[in-house]
Structure formats: C-alpha cells, structure tokens
Assembly symmetry: C2
Homo-oligomer: 370 residues x 2
C-alpha cells in the first residue's frame, strides 16, 4: 500500500506558523508513550509547567498546556471566565482580535470592540478613554497580531487596569518564545499561547496560565462552565495537587515535544533566543527595503517573528508564494481578511529564526521577481 | 541541563489507554512538519478521511479528525447539535455515559438518564420503553464502555430509532480499530473516537463523523454553536470543498501519526486486526480464570479490548498495579468511580493486542500474587 508520508518534502517553514522544528523536538515526539497517570509522566509535566512559567514571566500556580492547538487557548480563556451578559472589551487590530469577539459573543458576553487600523498598534490613550465609559469584566488584546505583524503595547495597557476588578487577558500565541514576556509585572490575569510558533514545536499544545484572581472568578461562577473538556476547575485536579484525578487523556507525545522545545529555549538562554529573532528580523527588513519593497508596519511597532511585507503592484503574490513553495521549498503565508492579496507574511520563528534562512528566502524572492 | 525525556522507560501499555504504538507510527510523528494549507498536507488529510470512513463503516462526507484528544469528540458532538432545552436521552452504564450527561447538561440540554448496572449492557427493551414516553432530539450511547469492559448493543438500539427524527450518537473511543463498526448500517448519525486506544496512535486526535441528517440539524440551528474551536460548519470549510479556508492550525504531526496508524490497520486488514484482538482477549480470559479470578462482565457482553477483572479479596489492587509498573514495566488501569479498588482494567488494544503480551502480563501477575 502506498504511504503518502514517504513523499513529505522537507519544507523551510517561514510562514505564519507552523514553524520549523528542531531535530531534538521531532525526536521527543517519537519517544515511548507513557500512561497519563504514570508518576514519571507527572514528573515531566511538573517540569514542563515550570518551564512555561519561566518563559511567560509568571508565578501562577495554574499554568498548564491545554490539549489542543493555539485557538483552544483562546476558547478556554473565555469559556472559563464568561457568564451570560458579562461585559468584555476587545482591543481589535487584526484577525485574532476579531476571533476573540466571535468566541466571546458565542458564549453570551456583551462584547465591545475597540477597533484600530490593521497594521497599526492599539493606542493606549483610546483604551483609557474606553475604560472611563464602562466597567468591563475582561479586557482582551493580542500581544503579537499574527495577521498584521504588529506588536501591541501590552505592558502599558496593563498599567491602566492595575487596581481595578477587570481581568486582563492576553493572546501570546505568536509572541511566546520569541520575545520577552513578563505577565506578572504587566498585571496579566489570563494568557495563552500555541506550540507551533516561536516555541518551535508542531501544533497540538496550547500553554495557558490563570492568575489567582482569575481562578477566584472561575471558582465563584454562578453557572457551570459550558464546556466539560476545557473546564479548568476539573483540569487542575489532574494537573495539580497531591492526588492526580483523571480528567481526560492529554496528548502525551505532543507534551514531550513541548517539553523538549521549552528545554531547548532554556538551554540556549531566552535572552539569546530573543536576540536571535531580532537579528533575523533586522536582516530581513534590510533585505526587503534593499529590494525596494516596504514593510506594512511602521518601525517601532514591528514584531520580530512575523513580518508583513507589502507586495508591490505588478507582483502576483499568489504566484510568488507558489513558486517559493514548489521551486525553492520555502513556505511563506498570504495576507488574511482585508490584507489578502496585499501582503505576504514572513515568519522568523524559533528554530528557523536564523540569518541563513533570511538569506535563502531573499535570494529566492529576488530570483523569482527578477 | 538535565532532560527528563532521556529517562523514559519503555512501558508495556496494557491499561485503558493510551495503548502501545507501532514503531512506524512513532516515526510518522517525527516527520517534517508541513504547513496546514500545503497542498501535500491536504492530500494526506483527504486520504486519512477515507481511511477513517472505512474503519467506521460510513460514507459520511463530514468525517474528520478533531484537533484534540478523545473527549473533545464528545464535546464536539454535543455542542454542535444541542440548543437550549433540547431533549437528550443518555443510556448510561459507566463513567463515559455519566460524562455524556455532564457535557450535554452544561450545554443547556434537558437530559434524561436511563441507567443500567455498571458491568451489564444497555437493555434494548428498556430503551424501547423509554422512547415511547418522550420524543428526544438525541439518543446517546457508549459502544465500548471503557470503565466496565461492557459491549453495548449499538446495532439493536439503532433499529429502534430508524424512521424517527431522533439523532443517534455513539461514542466509539475504545471500540474503533478493535471491533467492526458499520455506522451507516446501524443508522448512527454522529460518532467520535480517540487516537489512543485500538487505533494505536498516541492521544491527540479524535476522529468524528456526522451524517447528512446531522449536518442539516447543525445548519438549521437557531443559535450559533457556543464554541468557535469546535464549530463543524467552520471546520468543514477547511476540511472539505475546493478552496480550503483557514480555521485553526490543526496538529499536523499528530495527524501524520493517525494517518500511519490507520494505514497499518488497513494494511494488516481490519478483519485480521479484529480477530487478533479477539484471540488475545480469549487467551487472557482463560488465563484469568485459570488463576481462579473472575471477569466483571458476563460472557457474551465482554469487550475484546478492555477487560475488567475482579480483584479477589485479600489482594491489594493498588499494590499489584504498582508492582506491575515498577518491577515488570507493565501498565494496567484501576477501576473508575464505583468500581475503584474492586477491579483492574486490562487493555488489549491495537499494536499491543498480542498473545505474547497476554502471557507476559499473566506471568507477572502470577509471580506477584504468588
């Protein structure tokens, strides 16, 4: 019987994710499966939780990987905290802000959307104004907008919320592992990420953290969490405490992969890893500008790991991406939503955030566009 | 830096899942990650969907792996079909029936629970009686109750529902890949499974299928699905049709593993695989009875892949399991709920359903209990 897996080409993943994976992490995925209640697996998970806390800059006891891909972290954050009619303010400047609005609305929240132009960051003064007009249970923002390449001012927004009862929810899917995170210092209550961006593990695990304050809100709910799989109060009985109570069987081998991926970052040193991302980004921007092309986002608000490049008129971006994939084995991503057809998104994430990958991509692009 | 993964012992997984994994499937997990919109990945997924249909005995167009572990299949089945106040009948004779009640109730369903003694099967005549008393939108049952080792009469229950508007929902987490499934012939509308039982892939993917009738009910909802991640109407835009629309990044490498696991079953031949499960089960039961121990479930209702063995008085079941794991490298599972402390659960699933594994376990048990 033919096996399609034998035909998989080794692609250089420089898109919006999934990102490249280190050989050590691929190997980790293939280690012998242990039972989910095996004391040795619990030991691995405890150390993984510690590693996640380090990269997130938090002491939160409730810090675990969720059993799903990045978007399940968003779902889990909202479903545990929202009850019908709760007021949520979403700071929206891209696709993932829009998704937050969708997720929270489906759960019965009364969502206010504060919109900013895609490609520009959230403006802190406008957030301050909005906060004067109403009281919100949750304020939510995407730290690194994967759809636009914009870095949002999460620390400054956190300052506005300090001393209030409002929970601060941050999406760190694309930022975690590629730039510094100091959740406790920033006053973040709930944060989630995905394994498949700068953590450089395949998709399938979603690190999440809840502050004690967020856990209190969860424990004081008037209605049950309308999702058994993602109910953090049940999950914590499996993930914490002295007796581990079976909830669901987590993706053991995915968590091996995440363990190894976090291990790799801690071993290289988080500061070195962030500097490597920044260096690759700087090199890419220089190359793009030398081609006479432009970045979508103004300097100062650009993410290192997600680079939105404006495709000049006359260049067929779909053909460019297709040629990069088919002739050069390099994947980059299209624009999403309103930016579809107008930009390409170049990811420099984790294992692939290297100068030599930037050069390989730039050389290929120059050959294609002539 | 110390790496705990280096200390993982190769354990013979003979518990309630996760089950043993073939070397080819471990290898598949470690293949190069492709982008989730890469045409070659779409090709792999299309073939995987075909394989799932074959093992499930269905032609359902909407047959996909969900991005989570087995329990997410249960969550996805109910959340897509239930609207507030919908009547659901759950046929409950174990932990996973109880979980169905919990999942459906949280979603606002009006749940009726028809209970049967744990360790005995659902009685079809009693179901027929219950169906006379009320009209249900959904009737739900667990095909292979992992908590008790009971095989439920899914085909017979399906007969009762033919020609009605009631949707028939079946949990096949433990059965799929280990015993024949003929969903279309049985009249099943919604069915889900997990990768980590008889499919012999690590946990992290949950095959699910919806009949056209179930898709119609989904499409005619009055309220949005209160879960963005699991909304099948969004997922189908990614999984089907000519243009693939990004929804969420699925667990690429987990799906490689599932592809390989399904491939292995098709290559060996499903009938041969089922016979191998049955043979291992028969050998285990003979060995258990030769020790003077008893099976929980009466002959004729026993699952081949999940064997509930009554622990005789005077035998410390926790110590037995601990010794099996620590001294013999064999994992078996405890009882759940009311059966905790009274039974051990021996899984003969997928790759590990082999006579030589049965013998290794029986020899170890005899040495321990003397």
């Amino acid at each position: 019987m033919k096996n399609l897996l034998d035909g998989i080409q080794n692609t250089l993943l420089l898109g919006a994710g999934p990102s490249g994976v280190a050989p050590s992490t691929y190997y980790a995925l293939s280690r012998s499966t242990l039972g989910h209640l095996d004391p040795y697996f619990i030991k691995i998970m405890d150390e993984l939780k510690d590693g996640l806390r380090t990269l997130m800059g938090t002491q939160n006891l409730l810090t675990v990987p969720m059993s799903g891909t990045g978007s399940i972290g968003m779902e889990a954050s909202f479903v545990n905290l929202i009850e019908h009619g709760d007021k949520v303010l979403v700071l929206q400047n891209g696709v993932f802000g829009t998704r937050m609005v969708d997720v929270a609305s489906r759960l019965g929240a009364e969502v206010t959307e504060l919109k900013f132009e895609w490609g520009t960051p959230v403006v802190v003064d406008q957030v301050a104004e909005a906060l004067k007009k109403d009281n919100y249970k949750i304020v939510a923002v995407v730290m690194a907008e994967t759809s636009t390449g914009v870095s949002n001012p999460v620390a400054e927004i956190g300052q506005l919320l300090k001393g209030t009862d409002t929970l601060y929810l941050v999406d760190a899917v694309t930022s975690m592992g590629g730039m510094p995170m100091e959740l406790d210092a920033w006053g973040v209550d709930v944060c989630y990420s995905g394994s498949q961006k700068c953590l450089s593990c395949p998709p399938g695990a979603s690190p999440i953290t809840f502050s004690d304050r967020a856990v209190q809100v969860l424990n004081n709910r008037k209605t049950p969490v309308p999702n058994w799989y993602l109910d953090m109060s049940l999950l914590t009985k499996y993930w914490g405490g002295n007796t581990r109570v079976y909830h669901h069987t987590p993706p053991i081998n995915m968590f091996y992969g995440l363990y190894q991926a976090v291990h790799n970052i801690l071993e290289e040193g988080p500061e070195q890893v962030y500097a490597r991302h920044q260096a690759a980004h700087t090199r890419l921007v220089a190359g793009i500008e030398a081609m006479g092309w432009e970045m979508l986002v103004d300097e100062g608000y650009r993410l290192p790991m997600l680079n939105a490049v404006v495709v000049p008129e006359g260049v067929d971006e779909a053909a460019l991406r297709r040629k990069l994939l088919n002739d050069y084995g390099i994947e980059v991503s299209s624009g999403l939503g309103a930016l579809a057809g107008k930009i390409i998104r170049i990811g420099l994430m984790g294992y692939n955030a290297q100068d030599y990958n930037v050069d390989r991509l730039l050389d290929a692009m120059k050959e294609i566009v002539g």
